[in-house]
């Protein structure tokens, strides 16, 4: 059983509780032990970095130091937390003066950043550390016929962390295929959902959400899969407001990739937090009994 230091992040405490529970359920099924970092604090999100860079790095460093103490790789399901902590870790490792300065602050909480840690996003752990064959082997209820739009969003891939493909990634599609689902060709899969602009520049963000929903629906998606709590909220909870603003009638469920994995593993929906969406997902998830809503269109798209 491989152990990780688990950093849920503030969103997963409440707004994205279903991401938290489905993460724990699927990790357990895959023999991963996610040991929640005791007394973790906010990573700074985007807003803290708007105000003070040094303090924002300090916030990240406190979490990094606690994971180091346990000699575990840090894993987080939130793309924003991932980006912040990945780069805080990289910058502090690279810049001894910065690390010294921040270590002076960490002393106040009896912690020290040594630079021995590794930061990973949950989807990276599933795809690279566990691997698709091992995931496929656990599938008991394949998502046959379910058309999924895999939405990468931004910060899992950007800025580039290592040498990964930031223009044409395939791992999310491959993961969905391993579950028996059909990954649709979703042209805007890397386009931004607006992030926290939904709160500060609503008009811009709603139009960004509209574009994404339109692209997913055009691609014939039954459901959008995401790996970020903010993307989930923007794409799902704001659908009503998008519909009002643009006179559209979108009604696409948006699920976390862990909820889809859990469903394919036969884990009961309730334990995966399915049912807490504002756009109900249960109807599209009943894969076996589901018939194409518009057979002509479906066969057309295969031609």
């Amino acid at each position: 059983m491989k152990q990780y230091a688990y950093f849920p992040g503030c969103s997963l405490e409440k707004m994205a509780q279903s991401y938290h529970s489905s993460t724990l359920e699927t990790a357990r099924a895959l023999d991963l032990e996610l040991k929640e970092i005791d007394d973790w604090n906010c990573c700074g999100a985007t807003a803290y970095f708007h105000v003070d860079e040094l303090l924002a790095y300090t916030l990240c460093a406190r979490n990094l130091a606690m994971a180091e103490q346990d000699h575990l790789e840090l894993v987080t399901p939130c793309s924003g937390c991932y980006k912040n902590m990945y780069f805080a870790n990289a910058h502090l490792k690279h810049d001894a003066d910065l690390a010294d300065h921040i270590n002076y602050a960490l002393e106040a909480d009896n912690l020290k950043f040594a630079g021995t840690g590794v930061v990973k996003h949950l989807i990276e752990v599933f795809v690279n550390d566990v691997g698709l064959p091992a995931i496929k082997a656990k599938v008991t209820h394949p998502l046959t016929g379910l058309r999924v739009a895999p939405y990468y969003g931004c910060q899992i891939l950007r800025p580039r962390k290592d040498h990964e493909d930031v223009e044409q990634p395939r791992f999310f599609e491959d993961l969905m295929t391993a579950l028996g689902a059909t990954a649709v060709d979703f042209p805007l899969k890397l386009r931004c959902c607006g992030g926290s602009l939904i709160l500060t520049n609503r008009e811009a963000a709603l139009s960004m959400v509209r574009n994404l929903l339109q692209s997913a629906v055009k691609a014939g998606a039954d459901v959008i899969a995401t790996a970020c709590p903010l993307c989930q909220v923007n794409l799902e909870c704001y659908q009503k407001q998008v519909n009002r603003e643009f006179n559209t009638d979108f009604s696409v469920p948006v699920l976390y990739f862990t909820q889809l994995i859990g469903t394919a593993f036969g884990i009961p929906p309730k334990r995966l937090g399915i049912g807490s969406e504002l756009v109900e997902a249960k109807p599209v998830l009943r894969c076996e009994s589901r018939t194409p809503s518009n057979p002509a269109e479906r066969s057309g798209s295969h031609a």
């Binding site: 409440k14 803290y48 303090l55 950007r158 800025p159 926290s196 709160l199 609503r202």
Partner: protein, 187 residues
């Protein structure tokens, strides 16, 4: 007499954790503006903003809404052929304009960011209902109603926290923050 620092050099050196951002190498190709999903809403798209920085139009740069519209998606950063981290430049300009107290009239971004920072300093974790106060009252009545409706739906689904979460070692946490910046009272 000491040489005055050019605005461009200031912006180049605004980032702590890098050896400067090579803005001076910008060749105005426009890849950043093309890649930006929000450029249509900005008064100056990223390419022009960089040109304005190079031309030392400091006051005009600080008055644009450009960096407050940046969603931190980093599409510009990964595509810039000159290796300029355009998105981090936007962060740097946000911080700079907040230090100088110069930002566009009525922008929600700075207020939101300040509220966010206060929340974190108080409890160590973020808390959505407090954050909402920084933008909610800037809305018109229809938006307010929509927002309230959504909050109610989320509440019914158990997705809104009623009480703020707090970290346990809050005293240590605050002392840690004070060692970086002696902020005084965080209330």
């Amino acid at each position: 007499m000491p040489k005055t620092i050019k605005f461009q050099d200031e912006v180049i050196n605004l980032l702590h954790a890098t050896e400067g951002n090579p803005l001076n190498t910008c060749m105005q190709c426009g890849t950043c503006s093309g890649a930006c999903p929000v450029s249509a809403f900005m008064d100056q798209p990223p390419r022009r903003l960089i040109a304005m920085i190079q031309a030392a139009l400091k006051d005009r740069v600080l008055k644009t809404n450009t960096f407050w519209y940046c969603a931190s998606c980093y599409s510009c950063t990964v595509r810039c052929p000159r290796g300029i981290d355009v998105a981090e430049m936007m962060y740097a300009l946000k911080r700079y304009s907040m230090w100088k107290g110069q930002h566009p009239e009525g922008a929600i971004g700075p207020v939101f960011s300040r509220t966010f920072v206060k929340t974190i300093l108080k409890s160590g974790r973020s808390y959505e209902p407090v954050l909402a106060t920084s933008y909610f009252f800037t809305y018109g009545v229809p938006e307010m109603l929509q927002e309230a409706q959504m909050a109610t739906s989320l509440m019914l689904k158990g997705r809104l926290p009623l009480l703020p979460a707090r970290i346990k070692r809050l005293e240590n946490f605050r002392r840690m923050i004070h060692r970086i910046v002696p902020l005084g009272d965080t209330e």
